[in-house]
């Protein structure tokens, strides 16, 4: 993956100097290891700080809604699917975008890695599928495949679905992955156990809304949790309010979520936010044969009606 960066920089510099776009949204190194941050490059000089490695898990599609200028954007498989979603939801126009597709081999889970070390990690490097972690006198090399973000480990759309330029050869898609093992476990629980499961899951939530802010789908001008007139949901950390926030947000993402994992990555409390959206993602797949962001020509299941839509739940 590291070798992609030269090509990314080359394409980006060309697009900017030929004035095909006004800005390019990519990644630069963050202040902490394993936390690359978005970078809005306006000239060839800015491009120099661009990086590409296994720490580019943030979903850059999040920075597109309602922008007016011409934008170049670096897109992994999941980012590209969220870009498609933005286009069909009229949040950005296709002809405003030059998409630089990056075939992805998975991003690493920084929480998994930092949990392996007691001391502070000062440097993380990677080479040929191996991650080397250094910090305070310790050094350890781990297989990248062991520390992938959970959503990347089960991803079957690593290649961008739309792009104007490609930064590398397409990668082979993963086959025979069981994408819904975790959802099936929850589905099999009794109602009481399900209730407990979500109670435990949300125990540590501080309602910072980092998950919502990192999600490309959460672009409402005023989120229902911030509204005061009327106030739909309490603003405290009462478990009922916290639960209402998470379940409602998940339903707002139904048929739109690409399982990019940006919400999980953003959570400072290590909560698996995907546990809420994933059931809906599975339902959309099984009931409507729908996976978000794969096609520009089809309307999402929740904004169309087909006589063949499943309706067994209606008596």
């Amino acid at each position: 993956m590291l070798e992609y960066i030269d090509k990314i920089k080359e394409i980006s510099t060309r697009l900017l100097t030929e004035k095909k776009v006004d800005i390019i949204i990519g990644f630069r190194k963050g202040t902490l290891p394993m936390s690359n941050e978005p970078c809005f490059a306006k000239n060839a000089e800015d491009i120099k700080s661009f990086v590409w490695d296994s720490n580019c898990g943030i979903n850059l599609a999040n920075y597109l809604p309602n922008r007016k200028e011409k934008i170049g954007i670096i897109a992994k498989g999941c980012d590209s699917r969220n870009i498609v979603t933005h286009i069909i939801e009229n949040k950005i126009k296709r002809d405003q975008l030059v998409i630089i597709g990056v075939p992805c081999k998975g991003m690493i889970d920084r929480k998994k890695i930092s949990d392996m070390f007691e001391k502070e990690i000062t440097e993380v490097t990677e080479k040929q599928g191996k991650i080397t972690v250094k910090g305070n006198g310790v050094e350890k090399t781990i297989e990248k495949s062991k520390v992938l973000q959970e959503n990347c480990a089960i991803c079957i759309h690593r290649n961008p679905v739309i792009y104007d330029e490609l930064a590398a050869e397409k990668v082979e898609e993963q086959k025979n992955v069981d994408r819904y093992e975790d959802v099936r476990k929850v589905e099999a629980m009794t109602p009481e156990d399900k209730w407990k499961y979500f109670d435990n899951l949300l125990e540590n939530c501080i309602r910072c809304y980092a998950c919502r802010n990192a999600c490309p789908l959460c672009y409402c001008p005023t989120c229902f949790v911030d509204e005061a007139k009327p106030q739909w949901v309490g603003k405290s950390q009462d478990p009922t309010d916290t639960r209402t926030f998470h379940f409602l947000r998940a339903f707002h993402c139904a048929g739109r979520c690409t399982d990019c994992g940006a919400c999980v990555r953003a959570c400072p409390m290590g909560i698996n936010v995907r546990a809420f959206t994933k059931k809906l993602e599975k339902d959309c797949f099984e009931l409507f044969n729908w996976e978000a962001g794969l096609s520009m020509d089809e309307r999402p299941p929740l904004d169309t009606f087909k006589p063949t839509d499943p309706d067994e739940f209606i008596k």
């Binding site: 109602p191 009481e192 156990d193 399900k194 209730w195 407990k196 499961y197 979500f198 309490g234 009462d238 009922t240 309010d241 639960r243 209402t244 379940f247 739940f313 209606i314 008596k315």
Partner: protein, 54 residues
């Protein structure tokens, strides 16, 4: 998400189907009464929360 089956029900009833409406409402009432009061998604009264914390 932990809500008992039967507590939420969906039905298509045309404005002309008054008998079906009555029938459905009666059935829903019956099932829900059998399930008892909802315990989930109910905010605990302040007094109860305080006594738990104390």
């Amino acid at each position: 998400m932990g809500i008992e089956p039967g507590r939420i029900q969906f039905s298509w009833i045309s404005s002309a189907e008054s008998t079906k409406f009555v029938q459905v409402v009666n059935e829903v009432t019956k099932t829900i009464k059998a399930l008892g009061p909802n315990k989930n998604f109910v905010k605990r009264p302040v007094a109860e929360t305080v006594s738990k914390v104390a």
